[in-house]
């Protein structure tokens, strides 16, 4: 026990002696939270649109102003004619162009039916889907209003109507920052834990001090535990710091138990730190270690559901994410912080991650050899 304590003290001194360490611990999380939370958004608002009005009737003007009044849409300033309509989308000036054909109002009155065309830039497919549904809703409302206004004493004909109401639970405003911040916390903890532990032993190897440690009576597990405890403490501190910022700056809800978050984070860190340690034992230089860590990080993050949902991935890719500890941690952070899930809800995550923890720590201890 005493040996471990001394190693921990040595490690802490070494970490804080390094002047570049403090900004990494204190500045990086703030910057990451501020940039990531604001940049990573699929929110759709102020969509640029334009109207190609070939009818120029009172009704078509009303339709255009109905769109202008919507909070989702902003009209671009160009005056369109039939040649420049698609141009507007190619130029990126508008994402949506509403085409109102000639004789729109006349047709509607005479034939009881008229066409409206929506041209949507669909390169961003999911945004296009939502824009289309917003626009169709506005048009449907407009249609009902027009019907009531144009037919005097319009008696709603006995048509079957299915009324649709909706409620968004846990995040009624569909605020994207609320969604992103718990995931970024997970990223923060991973980044610091993985990088520090990956550099730890390889650094001693590179400088040559590992030989000195190897000739001491320090046992394998003592060294590993002693090396990892400081990173464990720093990473948990990082999480607390991140949560504080999230609460103060973004006012993120923490519905569930904060202890559960830290408990799971501790379990997760055992996995992350041993993965870092394994990298450390596989490499000879800090550069190699850094390169491999980054490579693994990119895969872990892009496959974790942080930016794009896991359920949209094809099945084989979803199976890969079962082996991604980051995916579990992000999931738990979101569940506990936003939905207030309790221990029984995240049992499965706990069990799987415990298995990974046992597996990765024993492999790390096995990989590390005291003889070169």
């Amino acid at each position: 026990m005493r040996t471990i304590f001394y190693i921990v003290r040595k490690e802490f001194r070494q970490i804080f002696r390094n002047k570049s360490m403090l900004p990494i611990i204190f500045v990086m999380p703030v910057i990451q939270l501020l940039i990531l939370a604001n940049a990573a958004t699929f929110e759709i608002k102020n969509v640029d649109f334009n109207v190609l009005d070939l009818d120029r009737s009172p009704l078509s003007f009303k339709l255009a102003s109905k769109f202008e009044a919507s909070p989702y849409f902003t009209r671009s300033l160009t005056e369109l004619n039939s040649y420049t309509a698609e141009e507007e989308i190619i130029n990126g000036k508008a994402k949506l162009v509403i085409v109102i054909p000639e004789n729109f109002e006349k047709d509607l009155v005479r034939d009881n039916t008229a066409e409206v065309q929506l041209l949507i830039n669909a390169i961003d497919g999911s945004a296009a889907g939502i824009i289309a549904s917003y626009a169709q809703n506005i048009l449907a409302d407009f249609n009902i209003e027009a019907r009531i206004n144009m037919i005097n004493m319009y008696q709603p004909e006995p048509l079957p109507v299915i009324g649709i109401s909706y409620r968004h639970w846990f995040n009624p405003e569909l605020d994207y920052i609320t969604f992103m911040v718990p995931g970024i916390m997970a990223l923060l903890v991973t980044l610091i834990g993985l990088l520090l532990s990956a550099m730890s032993i390889v650094k001693e190897k590179e400088i040559g001090t590992i030989e000195q440690i190897n000739v001491t009576p320090i046992r394998k597990h003592e060294l590993i535990i002693g090396k990892l405890i400081p990173f464990f403490v720093i990473a948990l501190f990082e999480l607390a710091f991140g949560l504080t910022i999230g609460k103060i700056v973004f006012d993120i809800p923490i519905v569930g138990s904060i202890w559960l978050i830290f408990l799971f984070a501790a379990l997760y860190l055992i996995v992350a730190l041993s993965v870092g340690l394994i990298i450390s034992t596989f490499t000879d230089t800090q550069q190699q270690a850094m390169f491999i860590t980054w490579f693994i990080m990119v895969i872990f993050i892009l496959m974790s559901g942080l930016f794009t949902p896991i359920q949209s991935m094809p099945m084989w890719a979803q199976r890969i994410t079962w082996f991604n500890p980051v995916a579990y941690f992000i999931d738990v952070m979101r569940m506990v912080m936003l939905k207030g899930s309790d221990f029984s809800d995240i049992q499965r995550h706990f069990v799987i991650l415990s298995v990974y923890a046992v597996f990765s720590t024993s492999y790390a201890v096995f990989r590390y050899k005291k003889v070169n």
């Binding site: 604001n38 940049a39 990573a40 958004t41 699929f42 759709i44 102020n46 190619i90 990126g92 509607l108 009155v109 009881n112 039916t113 008229a114 066409e115 409206v116 065309q117 669909a122 390169i123 961003d124 497919g125 999911s126 889907g129 289309a132 917003y134 169709q136 449907a140 027009a146 144009m150 037919i151 048509l159 079957p160 109507v161 299915i162 649709i164 109401s165 968004h168 639970w169 846990f170 995040n171 569909l174 994207y176 969604f179 550069q287 990119v298 895969i299 892009l302 496959m303 794009t308 949902p309 359920q311 949209s312 991935m313 094809p314 084989w316 890719a317 979101r334 569940m335 939905k339 899930s341």
Partner: protein, 367 residues
Amino acid sequence: MKKFFGFVIKECLHLLRDWRTMIILVGMPVAQIILFGFAIRNELDSVRIGILDHSRDEVTREITEELLSSGYFILDGYYGSTDEIGAAFRKGRIKEAVVFGNDFSNSLVRENRADIQIITDASEPNMANLALSYTAGIIRNYASSLSEQKQIPLTMNIETKMLYNEELRSVFMFVPGIMALILMLISAMMTSITIAREKELGTLEVLLASPLKPMQIILGKVAPYLILSMVNLALILTVSTSVFGMPIRGSLLLLIAECALFITTALSLGILISAVSNSMQIAMAISLVVLMLPTVLLSGFIFPVENMPWPLQAISHILPAKWFLIIIKNIMLKGTGFAYVWKETAVLAGMTLFLLVVSMKKFKIRL
């Protein structure tokens, strides 16, 4: 000139000799584009839903059937109360629940009105919004199919045309971004590291003492990576068209020329990074922090730039990847010619020139 070519050949051999690095440099981009091309998507697919059906009659069964046969939703199960739905949300079993009101089909026939409530797990806002709009669309279609026979006065028919990507596949959005990311990383990071390495090992001094001019040395170092990046580009384009069905609607020649320009920009960025850093480690750290994160987050690769707050939009303007993405989406998906991308091309060319001039100024000929 002959000396210069000799140097380029030496550098190429240098690169080819290290076959492990070569495999990584050629294999990694292909592996990445395949993995991420498949995995990074945000379209609605197999969302697990729960049904809370107070009526359990013909119509509710039909609507449930419609929802499930759309391919977007998978039934997790029938629930008995809103509390059960809340529990399922907290467990993460379902993302959406559809609640049918009491006596559904009877009230639809008698009172011409019946109510459905859609509850979403909005802790994932984008999914919630998408799921809601798809569900509402399916129900609305069903409702209008009920009244098909009757003539409704004054109906506006809406025709929605999804331009450039009819099936709304998210691959079209993300593959260009992955291309930019990979080309940026390979070109900029590798050049910066290779020059920093010569510095660190002290061999740059030997080279500088040779009759070659410093600029020739740098160009000679960069040339093999230019070739390598072009090979990578060919591989990436082949994979994205054959595996992901990305179209190349515009001119292929123009596309290749624009990619070459972007690669040159990335290479000059790499030269600049190596000029200001003294060790491989610093070069690598700068490349990763300055290139990778902003390219992923702020270039419009995954998240649309126009939704970001203005300070971030301002940063995005100085990222070469942002302009490159506009260009390749224009050429590949919209099929436009040079007339539509000359501004972005000019920006990229200007950046390249600027980077080259600055790195030449910064590059110390004497050590």
